[in-house]
Each structure stands twice: as structure tokens, then as C-alpha cells.
Symmetry: C3
Subunit: 207 residues, 3 copies
């Protein structure tokens, strides 16, 4: 009957919410081993004192970078802020996967102070890097375009985009998010969270 159907839907939706919001495996998640390995110039605000610069070397990673690989729990400010309206972030995944989708998330409209810093037009690239600490292999020329995406301010705050995997690519362990515009802020763009979904190559036999 209708009431047991309603209850079933409720339980299912809450389970999905409790399972990191989407109920989908995220290979970029910091707690799972994902990490930011490169990014464009971070935005340093004087207002929020956690946005401090940390290291200035060529390959230094900002202390807030990891925030984009962690849940935000409905909290404004739990993001990685980069300078200007275009930039990029490169992420090493927990393991090499066949990418199936990515999710880009901004803070919910209802609790946001300002959403002009949300990214808008983005491109997602992938590549496979054999040796973990080989700097020469980080050339952008090896990157394969996985998907062009646009973050829509009027849609859900977590937006998932499926990937039609190019024939030329098998697995990726490095994913690059490039944003070429945002929703109006001239000073900075905030990435609340970026997730990468897919299949582990051996998952069928290993399971």
C-alpha cells in the first residue's frame, strides 16, 4: 500500500544521504587516499583566517586543497578557493580506475552567503601515471579530455556528469579539473567538492 511505499522511499533516500550524499564510491576522496597534487594559484582571504598560504615552492600544495576531497556537511567555507575565474586542480586518485562519472558540488543555495564563486564551465581530463613520484610524467600533453561540464546554479548542489570513455584511454589515476569561468566573482572560485566515480579494472574477478 501507499504508506509502506512511502516509508520505503524515505528509508532509501535517507540511506543515500547518509552514504556520503550520493551513495556512490568516490576514488578522489581524501580519506580513501585521494590527494591534490597540483593546482593554480590559491586565493588567500584575510577574513577567514584558515586561508593561510602554506609554502610557496613550485610544487607546493595549499593546506586547504584537501577540502575539495572531503565532505562539506552543509557548511559554507569548507572549500578550496582559487584565484580568479579560471584555474585548475590535479588529483591523484586512490587507485587507477575506468572513469564513469564525476560529481562537482557547491554549497547549498539556502545556506550560502554568496554563490558567485561557484565554478561554471569546466573540463575534466584524465591520464595514467605509472610511477608515483615521476615529475616528468606530469606533462599535460598526456591528458585526455573526459568531459566538458557546466555547473548549474539552479540545479542540485551536487551535480553528477557521466563520462563516455574515449577509446584511446584505459584507466586513469590522475584527474584534472579545469574551470574557465565562474558564476560572477572576479576575485576567486571555490571548489567545495569534486568526486570521481568508476570501476576498478580487476573488480569483477577480485570480488
Amino acid at each position: 500500500d501507499i504508506t509502506s511505499y512511502a516509508k520505503e522511499v524515505i528509508i532509501k533516500e535517507i540511506e543515500k544521504h547518509a552514504a556520503d550524499g550520493l551513495g556512490r564510491v568516490d576514488y578522489a576522496l581524501a580519506a580513501g587516499g585521494g590527494r591534490v597534487t597540483k593546482h593554480s594559484e590559491p586565493f588567500v582571504s584575510q577574513k577567514i583566517n584558515t586561508w593561510l598560504p602554506k609554502g610557496k615552492g613550485r610544487n607546493s600544495i595549499h593546506s586547504n586543497a584537501q577540502k575539495m576531497l572531503e565532505p562539506s556537511f552543509g557548511q559554507p567555507g569548507q572549500c578550496f578557493a582559487l584565484q580568479g575565474s579560471n584555474g585548475f586542480i590535479e588529483i591523484r586518485l586512490r587507485s587507477a580506475i575506468i572513469p564513469e562519472a564525476v560529481t562537482l558540488e557547491h554549497v547549498a543555495k539556502s545556506v550560502a552567503y554568496d554563490r558567485s564563486s561557484a565554478p561554471k564551465d569546466c573540463r575534466v581530463y584524465g591520464r595514467f601515471e605509472g610511477s608515483e613520484f615521476d615529475p616528468s610524467s606530469s606533462d599535460e600533453e598526456n591528458m585526455v579530455l573526459l568531459k566538458e561540464i557546466r555547473y548549474d546554479l539552479e540545479s542540485n548542489n551536487a551535480q553528477t556528469f557521466s563520462i563516455d570513455l574515449p577509446i584511446s584511454l584505459e584507466v586513469v589515476n590522475i584527474v584534472r579539473l579545469e574551470f574557465s569561468s565562474n558564476h560572477g566573482s572576479p576575485s576567486h572560485t571555490c571548489i567545495y567538492r569534486f568526486r570521481v566515480h568508476g570501476l576498478e579494472p580487476g573488480s569483477i574477478t577480485e570480488n
Copy 2:
């Protein structure tokens, strides 16, 4: 039909829950730049070793004070505990706003060890402070009463009270929460979370 209506309500309620529980902007939120600037004597428990005193100077802020400007995630203990059944906390907001409401939250009944430390009768005051670090301007005489509130143990754990703004006041960036009673504990009062809602003066034109 009824099932699509039910699904719509479910999605909406979960979105509200995911959006910091209320789906309402909080100008006191620590992650947004809010901070505790003054408070009465903190309660130091030997049992929970995170409640350690930190600094003893006249204007020192207890390391747990910020907890009342952060989510509690259904966890007992994620609060700022003050000595006795009366006291106060002053908060500098992220920015000056026209205050519309405040929310006082305690831990949910179902997971609480003891709710006698919940605040009961409170008064909320506001004022505007021009220069950020001007100690002379922190006089309590400039405070305007915004609302008298009573936290009801039998109602929701997050209780929102709307403010009828006094004519004499335009915007506030300092809010003071005074509690004059609690729900029975002689030793201490716990503030799990206090939020301040309102409008940024230029928000209509700036948007």
C-alpha cells in the same frame, strides 16, 4: 498523485537537513567567519579531557567557545560549557546584518546523557561595532535587546525565534546571548549551537 507528492516532500526535507539542518544562512557560523569575542567563566570538567582551560587573561577565549558556532552532528559533548546556570557569550558575526531570527540548539533528547545543562531563559542583544579591535566600544550599554527567548526541552532540539527589529537599530555585527537559567544543572550550562539569521544590507542591490 500521492506517491510523487511523498517523494517530493522527502527530497525537500532531506535537502533541508543536508543544508546545515535548517536550510538558513547563519552569520555566526565559525566556518563563515563568526567568532566568540567574550564569555562568562567556562566550565572545566575533569572527565572530558578536551575541556581544558586555555589562557586566563581578562579577554581570553576558551578553546571550546567556537564549538557553539559549529555543527554538532548529533553528538553529545560538542558544546561550549559555561559555569553555573547564568552567563553570557558575545559573538562577532561574519558581517553586519539586519537580524531576523536566532536559533538556539541543544543535543537531541534521544542521544543525550543528561539534558539538565540545557539553557532555559535567555536574552539576545545586538549592537554595531565599527572598528574591529576597539576595546572601548564593547560597552554593554550600547546593546539593544533583540529578543527574550526560552529554550523548551520538549520541542525540537534546534529552536528558531524571530526578531522584531527595534526601530532604534539598523544593523548589528555583535550579538550577545545571555542565559539567566538552565534546565536544572547547578554546575554548568551547555550551549551546543547558536545561529544568527538576517539580511545583508546591500544584498538586494549586490545580487
Copy 3:
């Protein structure tokens, strides 16, 4: 009518979810004063760099041990990993209670990389320890079996087991979780969360 019934169920289920997932008091919760006092050999992974050994003394507690007394928020990796497929953890509760149930939780299937590290067959023991730091009283011979449990991978990720209290036992403040098998991993077993529910002896009169 049906729509108000649906709304009521929705609100109730979300409240339960918001109240630490179960809406039930947990006397093992770290934020409430629970702590791990003994455990078998921890599993140290090179991959996830937060799994570092900390202290190697006979009674040292791994820095990740506390994770099993904290919420996981739908995040893989937020667990205490122990070596092999059998081992134990001893927990000092916040206070002495008459135990009524325990809850064993693993990460949700939908977000897990691998669930072979989930515990399977377990035994839960309890005892009362008078003086807090008396090492001689930690003898396992004083332990009373409270419950044999089996974690079922096909059921909910948080599984609650009720306890039929043995006549010989009154209150416990130490609970021991022993696992004798897991769901397939030869290298390690992950405990995401373990909760202990019950009644405080004086709760009727004290309330």
C-alpha cells in the same frame, strides 16, 4: 490522511538520522568520555598516511583507535584497522551502565571500496572496574560474555544486537569486543564504529 502521515514519518526518520543515526544513547562515544584502553595489533597501511604507528609500548593505544568511538559520516577509511582476521578492543565507557544492546557499524556498501575487512563473528564481554587506573584489575578472567554477534554484510550498515543481561552481572564500565573472523581480508579487519547502549543505574531516581 495519507500525506500528513507521510510527512510525519519523514520528519521522524530524519530526526533519527540526525540523532547520530540511531537516536540512541551511546556510552562508548569518544565525545562523551568513552575511550579505547587496550587492543590487539593495529594494521599499519603505507597507502593511507594517517595510519601511522604511535608508540610501541605494551599498553600503548594507536592514534586511530578512537575512530571506532566516533561517527563515520558515510566516509570509507574512518575506522580502526587491526591486523589479521581476529583480534580485540577494550573500551572504558563514559560511566557504569546496565548494558542493553551494542551496535556494530561498517561503512555503507554503496560507498565502500572493499568490504572484505568487515568483522564477522564477534563476542562482546563486559566487566566492572572499580579504580580507573588499576592495571591488575584488567584480567580477562573477570569478563562476562554479554552477547555473541555476527555482522551481516547484506543487512544495514549499523546493526544493533540486544543483550540479555546475565544474572551474575550488575553494571559494566569496561566492554570488550572480540572478533574471530572477518568477511575475507587476510590482512586486516576494520572497525568503523562500536556503540554500547544501556541504562545508568541511578537514572530513574536521578531524573
